[in-house]
Symmetry: C2
């Protein structure tokens, strides 16, 4: 299935959508967008399902709304769904399309950097349930993903940075030249669309290659967890304290911590730890934790849904591009790495 996922990199989004919507043998097209992204389609298409935005609305109630609207519009298994939005829309819209009448074809048009390099590609769909993130879902890839930088001009800086952390991660898993190129990125100059689209192309390809090697997340796909074992703990603790941090900020801090662990355990070059550390210090500010939080952070890592038997495991690197999944790290390793992270961040 996944092999058939068609990725289109273009800065002429409308033409690409039209080509897909007018080709194929589907009997009708239905759009799914959130209240903000729905405004991007002008004039409104005849069948547009609008959902509320935000992760707090990624719920069964919203799924039911999409199913009910599909029913009302006479959508069938031979219809085409177009998901236009960030990760929330592509995850939830993809799930609704993949399950309505046992599934129709759908395409993703991510409108955020994070969505483009992460959620929209690879086939994970689903929603939050009982307060647990992505608790219900399926592996169901979009037939086509249209990736463009055209929507990013209006993205808040914080969201650009958040997505960029995943771009960095993909480079760290694959290509030192690209890694160094990204570390020269300046968030304060206007977007160079052609250049950014090329960065996206390379970044997404890394994910595609890893997912293709392991579509149902049995092993190798854990490579994509780089930065996330530690990053999720930062994200969860911040959330728990009612002061959430953007996902990508937590990932950026997690990448530095896991680069330090890679240095300590697998001799990952200290030069690259330093380059990464400086970039993260300059661009991902206000790390909200101190050494008093270590115990709670370690506890969260032990209870991560990917941990086994309470052991903390990470994906670590021997060098940029050379990753090793399922590396066990001890509490002492982590304590040392968190200390060094705080040094890098100047805190």
């Amino acid at each position: 299935m996944l092999m058939g996922q068609n990725l289109i990199f273009t800065n002429d989004v409308l033409a690409a959508i039209k080509r897909l919507a007018n080709g194929g043998d589907h009997n009708m097209t239905v759009w799914i967008a959130d209240v903000n992204t729905a405004r991007l389609v002008n004039p409104a298409p005849p069948r547009l399902i609008t959902i509320p935005d935000g992760d707090e609305n990624k719920t069964l109630e919203t799924v039911k709304h999409v199913w009910d609207e599909m029913e009302r519009m006479g959508v069938t298994r031979r219809s085409l769904a177009i998901n236009l939005g960030g990760g929330m829309v592509t995850d939830l819209g993809g799930w609704a399309a993949a399950t309505f009448k046992r599934g129709m074809r759908f395409i993703n048009v991510p409108t955020t950097l994070l969505g483009a390099v992460d959620a929209a590609v690879g086939g994970k769909t689903g929603f939050n349930y009982n307060g647990l993130k992505n608790e219900i879902g399926a592996f169901a890839p979009a037939s086509d993903v249209i990736i463009s930088t055209r929507f990013f001009g209006t993205l808040p800086l914080q969201e650009m940075k958040s997505g960029f952390a995943e771009v960095l991660k993909h480079a760290m898993l694959s290509d030192r030249d690209e890694f160094l190129r990204l570390l020269n990125h300046d968030f304060h100059t206007p977007i160079n669309h052609d250049n950014l689209l090329e960065r996206l192309r390379r970044s997404v390809q890394v994910k595609v290659d890893i997912v293709a090697s392991d579509p149902n997340e049995q092993g190798n796909r854990k490579a994509l967890n780089l930065g996330h074992t530690v990053g999720h703990a930062f994200e969860s603790l911040a959330m728990k304290r009612g002061k959430p941090v953007p996902h990508g900020y937590a990932v950026a801090w997690g990448l530095v911590t896991e680069a330090v662990l890679s240095h300590l355990l697998l001799k990952f070059p200290s030069e690259d730890v330093h380059l990464l550390g400086s970039f993260v210090r300059d661009n991902y500010r206000d790390f909200p934790f101190t050494c008093d939080d270590y115990d709670e952070l370690l506890d969260l890592m032990r209870h991560d849904k990917k941990s086994r038997n309470g052991e903390i495991t990470c994906t670590l690197l021997t060098s940029v591009g050379d990753y090793h999944i399922d590396q066990t790290v001890t509490p002492d390793d982590l304590t040392a790495a968190l200390d060094i992270l705080r040094d890098h961040l100047g805190q």
Copy 2:
């Protein structure tokens, strides 16, 4: 995926379940059964999710109950689910298992003849939504299906007959010797378990071969629709009038009607129409329709979810074992065939 579906034909069900539950690398086992089939597991296993029985409970509410119980029991994506019951349990339990945390392995243990030869095998899962049958679902095959006749001793005669119609259908799609053997079946002698298990083995193999040729129901799988275009219309009209008929009875009447259509349009041998007609007349009594119902029946066929552009299409046969999907039939053909059906049924 489907190719990996492991079918176990045995009359020692418990040993087969134990072998699967004790092997494998799952971290725990959870059972899903309805209030009746739950009693078959004695002593009760440590993790047993009980759901109400009956198609009217094949709803999102019941799905949520299963998800919530899985949550409460600490089930993970590395757990194993065992669905014990008829088609309602294997459809809904399979769906819950395939979607909880994006899916865990599950095995089906069908307890009805209809479940064994139809619902449990082939990967369709789902539930009824907004009053529409199997409106939400996914193609997600059980890793293993344990097929046994042991549960059938206590099945009501009407349920045995209902399942047997699908066994007949499979023989009509594949093998005239088997077809003739089945027409000699006597429902009033005690079950010969070894013989019936052999019939099941052959019957299920027909479905498996057809599904394997078309896992996502794009074309060839429509062969399995034999008897169902007309059968569904009988079932729906009876339901609409508040006097439902068993699914298999409607299918049996549908098989005769479509055999007649096959004779009229594709020269299917009249001898086989007669043999089938006599068997159905003797065993599937009380056909509840007259010529006054033809218009309404035709209308239902035009609105079947598999019909296109209001044309009525059936799977028809040139001979037993030689099927042709997507055969268009006219209202006149159908009127003639329904008249001949009523002659066969002596009504």
